[in-house]
C-alpha cells in the first residue's frame, strides 16, 4: 500500500506577526519580501485561525495545520527537512497576501523532493471572502475548502458588475469634499455631504494666502462653499457624523448621527444677538486657539450654513442648567431649543468619497522648542490666523498677551516682532515623531515669510530648513522670489529654543556658513507637519479601508490614486496622504469623475456570491469519503 501523504495548511495573516517576540524570523522575512508597508496595516477584521483549523480537520484526516511562526524562515532547507519528516506532499497557504511566502515554501518543497507545483494559495481577500466588515467566516471556509480540494474559486464568488444607486455620500466638507460634491452635483446627481463641525470649509478656510500665487484662500474657497450650501443637488449635513456603513458596492446603507445643534437651522436668521450676550468664553477652534469664542457661536463669519450652534460641552445651560440668556434674547421664537437630542438618519447611497482630511502635528511633543511654554513660539496654523485680516488682530502681527483670565491670546493691541524665525520640518522627517515628509511645509513657510515681510517690511525673517522642497509648478520660482525679497535662508534645523527675557534664543548649525548659530528672535513659527486624524483608524474599520501609517490606502498610487480596495469607495485629499491644495482639488475632481462614470454606466465593480458554503461542503464530503477509502 502506498504511503499516506499529508497536506499541510498554513494560515498566513501578516499583521499578526509584526513585533511579536516569538515571530521575529517571519516578521523579518515579510519585511524584506513584501514591497510595501501596507501588508502590516490592513484594518479589515481578521479571521480566527483556530476556528478554521478545526474546520479543515472536520473535512480531512490528511490535513496538518502549521503555525507560520513556528516554521524556519531563514533557511529553506530547514523547512524542507520538516516537510520530509512529516511526509507532506502538498501545502495550502490560506489567508491574506499568501503570495509573499509562496516562493519560499515552493523552494522548500523542491528541496524536499516534492513538486513545487503542489503549493496552493487561498487568498481570502482576492476570492471575495472579505467585505466592509472584514473576513466573513463562512466565505473563508469556502475559499479554504476550494483550495484544499482544488475546486474552482469562481464557485465562491465571481467578480461582477453590480447595479448602482445614483446618490453619493461625501464624508468631510473641506476643500476636497466640497470640490467633489460640486463636481458630482453639477453633473445632476444627488450628493450627501456630511461634515463633523458646524461649517464646511475645513483647514483651507483658516489659511490666509495660498502658495505659490499668493491668492487669498478665502477668495477661492468661500464662493465654492456658498455654492455647496445653495446647490439643489447637495444635501448638506453639517454637525453630523457617519456612524455605520453596511451593504455592497453600489448600494451602501449609511447611518448618520445628527448631533444636537440646539439652534433651529431653518429659522435661525444669523443675527448674532445670542453670541453677544453669551457669558461663556472658550478657545476658538477656527482661530486655532488664538482667541476666544462664546458657547453659542458661529465658527467664522462666512460659515456655511451661516447659522449658530451651541457648544454642548461648555454651555452652562446644558451642563448646569444656569443661564439660558441666548433663548431669551433670540428674536425668533423657539429657534433655540435646549432639549434637542441627537438623532439618526439612515440614507442609501451607491458611492462614497472619503475626504476626512488631517490634523496638524502637536508641537508640544517637540519639547526642545518650548511650544506651549513660550508665548511667542507659534504653530504655522496659529500664525495663519494671526496674519489673516479677519483673524484676532485684524491682520497685524502682534505678540501674544494674557487676558483677564490668564489665557494667552492675540488682540488688536501689542508690539510687533522685529525678527521672526521659521523652523521647518517640525514633527516631519523625524524618526522620533513622523518619518514622512509633510510636503506642504516648505512652501507654506516661504509664504509665511513673505507675508511677514509684506506686513513688516523692516523685520528680518529667517528660514531654518533641512532641504528646501519646492516641487510643484511655479514653486521653485516662488522660492527664488522669496529669496530675492531678502529673507535669510539658513540650512540647518534649529536644535533648541530658550527664552531669555522677552527674546527667544535659537541654537542651531549654519551648514553653509560652517558655524554654530545662536540667534535671538522675537517670534518663532514652527512649520508643523500633517498627520492622519486620531480617528482615521476607526473610519477605516467602518468603511473597510486599508491604512498605511494612518493614511487611507489608495488602490494603486500610480494607476488608481482615488480608488480603494472596495468597489464604490474612493479617497480624496490629505486623508490619503499629505498634499497641497492643487493636488487635493485635482484628486477630489478625479474621485468625482469616477463616481459619475459609475453612475452613468449604472454598474460598479464588485463580487457576486457564488455557490453557498453548504453546497460546497456537500461536494467536498464526497471527496473526503474517497480519500478515507
Amino acid at each position: 500500500m502506498a504511503e499516506k501523504k499529508l497536506t499541510a495548511v498554513i494560515f498566513f495573516n501578516p499583521r499578526n506577526y509584526r513585533n511579536k517576540a516569538d515571530c521575529a524570523e517571519l516578521s523579518a522575512y515579510i519585511q524584506t519580501h513584501s514591497g510595501h508597508d501596507a501588508v502590516w496595516n490592513s484594518s479589515v477584521q481578521p479571521w480566527d485561525d483556530a476556528e478554521l483549523a478545526a474546520y479543515i480537520r472536520l473535512y480531512s484526516n490528511v490535513a496538518e495545520v502549521w503555525d507560520p511562526c513556528e516554521l524556519p524562515w531563514d533557511n529553506a532547507e530547514k523547512l524542507a527537512k520538516k516537510i520530509s519528516a512529516k511526509k507532506i506532499s502538498r501545502i495550502v497557504i490560506a489567508g491574506e497576501l499568501p503570495g509573499i511566502i509562496k516562493s519560499y515554501v515552493a523552494r522548500a518543497m523542491m528541496l524536499a523532493g516534492e513538486s513545487a507545483e503542489q503549493v496552493w494559495l487561498a487568498d481570502f481577500h482576492e476570492h471575495g471572502a472579505s467585505d466592509l466588515q472584514g473576513i466573513s467566516s463562512d466565505k473563508a471556509k469556502a475559499v479554504l475548502l476550494a483550495a484544499f480540494y482544488q475546486l474552482p474559486f469562481e464557485m465562491i464568488s465571481v467578480p461582477a458588475e453590480l447595479p448602482v444607486n445614483p446618490t453619493t455620500l461625501v464624508i468631510g466638507g473641506g476643500i476636497a469634499g466640497s470640490q467633489a460634491s460640486l463636481e458630482i452635483a453639477e453633473a445632476g446627481l444627488d450628493v450627501y455631504l456630511v461634515e463633523r463641525s458646524g461649517t464646511i470649509g475645513g483647514h483651507m478656510a483658516m489659511f490666509d494666502k495660498t502658495f505659490p500665487t499668493l491668492d487669498c484662500a478665502a477668495c477661492i474657497l468661500t464662493p465654492k462653499m456658498v455654492e455647496v450650501g445653495q446647490h439643489p443637488h447637495i444635501k448638506l449635513r453639517t454637525y453630523c457624523e457617519v456612524k455605520e456603513v453596511t451593504g455592497v458596492p453600489g448600494n451602501y446603507t449609511v447611518k448618520i448621527l445628527k448631533k444636537a445643534r440646539m439652534v433651529n437651522l431653518s429659522t435661525c436668521i444669523g443675527c448674532g444677538t445670542c453670541t453677544e450676550k453669551c457669558p461663556v468664553n472658550v478657545f476658538s477652534e477656527f482661530d486655532s486657539g488664538t482667541t476666544m469664542r462664546k458657547a453659542i457661536y458661529i465658527p467664522f463669519p462666512q460659515a456655511v450654513p451661516n447659522k449658530y450652534l451651541i457648544d454642548v460641552a461648555n454651555c452652562t445651560k446644558i451642563t448646569a442648567n444656569k443661564c439660558g440668556v441666548c433663548a431669551k434674547v433670540c428674536p425668533v421664537a423657539d429657534c433655540i431649543d435646549y432639549n434637542e437630542k441627537d438623532t439618526e438618519e439612515i440614507i442609501t447611497v451607491g458611492n462614497i468619497i472619503v475626504a476626512t482630511g488631517f490634523k496638524t502635528f502637536d508641537a508640544t511633543r517637540v519639547e526642545q522648542y518650548g511650544y506651549g511654554k513660550y508665548p511667542n513660539v507659534l504653530t504655522s496654523l496659529e500664525f495663519e490666523r494671526l496674519i489673516n485680516a479677519s483673524g484676532p488682530t485684524g491682520g497685524e502681527i502682534n505678540f501674544r498677551v494674557q487676558d483677564k483670565k490668564q489665557n494667552w491670546i492675540f488682540t488688536q493691541t501689542g508690539d510687533s516682532p522685529r525678527k521672526v524665525g521659521v523652523i521647518h520640518c517640525v514633527g516631519s522627517r523625524d524618526e522620533n515623531h513622523n518619518s514622512h515628509c509633510s510636503k506642504v511645509c516648505c512652501m507654506y513657510s516661504l509664504k509665511l515669510a513673505h507675508l511677514v515681510k509684506e506686513k513688516l517690511p523692516d523685520a528680518e525673517v529667517y528660514e531654518y530648513y533641512i532641504d528646501m522642497r519646492a516641487f510643484g509648478k511655479g514653486y521653485e520660482e516662488f522660492y527664488e522670489r522669496i529669496r530675492e525679497e531678502g529673507i535669510h535662508m539658513i540650512r540647518g534645523k534649529t536644535a533648541k529654543i530658550e527664552e531669555s527675557g522677552k527674546k527667544l534664543k535659537l541654537r542651531g548649525e549654519d551648514m553653509e556658513g560652517g558655524k554654530l548659530l545662536e540667534q535671538e528672535m522675537d517670534m518663532v513659527i514652527l512649520a508643523v507637519g500633517l498627520e492622519p486624524r486620531e480617528d482615521a483608524g476607526e473610519i477605516a474599520r467602518m468603511i473597510g479601508l486599508d491604512t498605511e501609517k494612518g493614511w487611507f490606502r489608495e488602490a494603486n498610487q500610480l494607476s488608481d490614486p482615488v480608488g480603494t480596495s472596495n468597489g464604490g469607495i474612493y479617497v480624496a485629499g490629505v486623508c490619503q496622504g499629505p498634499k497641497d491644495i492643487p493636488d487635493t482639488v485635482a484628486q477630489a475632481s478625479a474621485a468625482a469623475s469616477r463616481v459619475i462614470q459609475c453612475v452613468i454606466r449604472g454598474k460598479v465593480a464588485g463580487n457576486q456570491n457564488g455557490v453557498p458554503l453548504s453546497e460546497i461542503e456537500t461536494m467536498v464530503k464526497q471527496f473526503s469519503m474517497e480519500e478515507i477509502a
Partner: protein
C-alpha cells in the same frame, strides 16, 4: 586644501562598532545640541560628513571625538536615529587604532578573540611567574601586629623593578602614539601653522582637563560626570601608588587608618567601586538612546577587568591585615594576573588609552585655536 576621497574608509570604520552613518541627512541638530560645540569645532556632524565622503585625512585630523564625553544628547534628538553619540565612540576606537603604530589596537578592537586571548596569555604568564618561580613561597609567619609578611613572599625589590619596566613600556607606547596623534592633527594639517611658543602657553590646558574634566561637566547629566570622575581619580591615585610608589604603599606594617597610605587607598577603592557600579548598571540596563545603549566587547572587558582587579584588591587588603597568609598569597597572584594584562593591553592599545588622548586632544584643540586666531591677527596687521 584638497582631499583624497577614500571609498574604503566607511567599511574600515564599520569594523569598529555599530554605526549608521549613511542615515544622516545633515540637519545639524546634533551639533547645535552638543553642549561642547563651539566656534571652530562643529561636531558630531562634521565627522559624519567626513565619513560619508571618505575624507580619511580630515577624519584622522579631528580631535573632536576625544572632546566628546558621550552624554547622548545628540542621539536623543536625532531625527534619523543615526546615533551620533555612538558614532563618536566608534570614531574614538578607530582613532586609537590609527594612532597606534604597532597595529595591535586595530586587532584588539576588530577581533574579540585577539583581545581575549592576549589577556589570557599575559594573565597566565604573570600568574605562573608569581606562583612557579617564587623563591620564598608562602610565608606563614606573621608580623608582630598580626599582618601577613607579603613583601617576604614576593620580594618587593623585584616586583617594583618589574613594575617600573612595565610602566616604561607603556609610557613608550603611549608617547609614540601621542606623537602620531600630534602629527595627524597638527603637523599634517598644513593650512594652520602653529607657532612653537603656543605649545608652552597652552600647556595648562593639559593639566586642567586631565584633573577636572571640566568639559565633561558641561553635559547635562551630572551623575555621569561624577561617576566618571570618581572612577578616573580613583584609578589615577591607585595607579600612581602601585606603579611609582610601590615600596611606600605595599608594606608589611599595618598602618593606622589615618595614615596617608590607607586613606588614599580607601579613597581610590571607593572611587573605583562607585564608578564601576554606575557604569556596570548602565551597560546592563542599556536604556534606549542613552550613553550605554550599545556596548562593544572592549567596553565590557574594560569594566569587568577593572572590577575584578578592585575586588581582588579589596580581598587582598583584608586577608593581609587579618593575617591569612595562604589566602593572601593566592589572592595576590590572582590580583596580578588580572592587573598586569589590564594595564599592558588596555592602556596602550584599547579603551584605557583615552586617559592620555582626551587631555591631549583638548590641549591640541586649544593650541590649534590659538594658532588660528593668532594667524588671523597677523594677517590683519599685514593687510593694514
Amino acid at each position: 586644501m584638497s582631499h583624497r576621497v577614500d571609498p574604503t574608509l566607511i567599511k574600515e570604520v564599520e569594523k569598529f562598532g555599530k554605526g549608521s552613518w549613511n542615515e544622516c541627512f545633515h540637519c545639524g541638530q546634533c551639533t547645535a545640541n552638543c553642549p561642547l560645540t563651539e566656534e571652530g569645532s562643529l561636531f558630531p556632524r562634521s565627522g559624519y560628513r567626513a565619513l560619508q565622503m571618505g575624507m580619511r585625512d580630515k577624519l584622522q585630523a579631528g580631535v573632536e571625538p576625544w572632546l566628546c564625553y558621550y552624554c547622548g544628547d545628540c542621539s536623543k534628538q536625532c531625527p534619523r536615529d543615526a546615533n551620533p553619540g555612538e558614532t563618536m565612540m566608534v570614531l574614538r576606537r578607530w582613532l586609537t587604532s590609527r594612532y597606534d603604530w604597532t597595529g595591535l589596537a586595530k586587532k584588539f578592537y576588530t577581533s574579540h578573540w585577539w583581545e581575549l586571548i592576549a589577556v589570557l596569555v599575559i594573565g597566565t604568564i604573570v600568574g605562573l611567574l608569581f606562583s612557579v618561580f617564587n623563591p620564598n613561597g608562602i610565608v606563614t609567619e606573621l608580623n608582630p601586629d598580626g599582618g601577613v609578611r607579603i613583601n617576604d613572599m614576593f620580594p618587593i625589590k623585584w616586583v617594583h623593578l618589574g613594575d617600573l619596566v612595565m610602566a616604561a613600556c607603556i609610557a613608550f607606547l603611549l608617547v609614540t602614539n601621542l606623537f602620531r596623534m600630534w602629527y595627524f592633527t597638527i603637523l599634517k594639517q598644513k593650512e594652520t601653522r602653529v607657532p612653537f611658543v603656543l605649545y608652552f602657553t597652552e600647556v595648562w590646558n593639559l593639566v586642567v582637563h586631565f584633573a577636572t574634566q571640566k568639559k565633561f561637566n558641561k553635559c547635562d547629566n551630572k551623575k555621569y560626570w561624577a561617576g566618571h570622575w570618581l572612577l578616573m581619580s580613583g584609578y589615577v591615585i591607585m595607579f600612581t601608588m602601585i606603579v611609582a610608589f610601590l615600596p611606600w604603599f605595599q608594606t608589611d606594617i599595618i598602618y593606622e587608618w589615618y595614615e596617608p597610605q590607607r586613606l588614599l587607598g580607601y579613597y581610590a577603592t571607593f572611587g573605583l567601586t562607585v564608578g564601576l557600579i554606575y557604569f556596570f548598571w548602565g551597560r546592563i540596563k542599556k536604556a534606549a538612546k542613552s550613553t550605554f545603549q550599545f556596548s562593544h566587547i572592549s567596553d565590557w572587558l574594560f569594566i569587568i577587568m577593572l572590577l575584578l582587579t578592585t575586588l581582588t584588591g579589596i580581598a587582598l587588603h583584608f586577608f593581609r591585615i587579618y593575617g591569612m597568609a595562604e589566602a593572601t598569597y593566592w589572592m595576590y597572584i590572582f590580583h596580578m594576573a588580572i592587573l598586569v594584562p589590564m594595564l599592558v593591553i588596555e592602556v596602550p592599545f584599547s579603551k584605557w588609552s583615552h586617559l592620555a588622548y582626551r587631555p591631549f586632544a583638548a590641549y591640541f584643540a586649544r593650541v590649534k585655536k590659538a594658532a588660528v586666531s593668532r594667524n588671523a591677527v597677523k594677517e590683519k596687521l599685514v593687510l593694514n
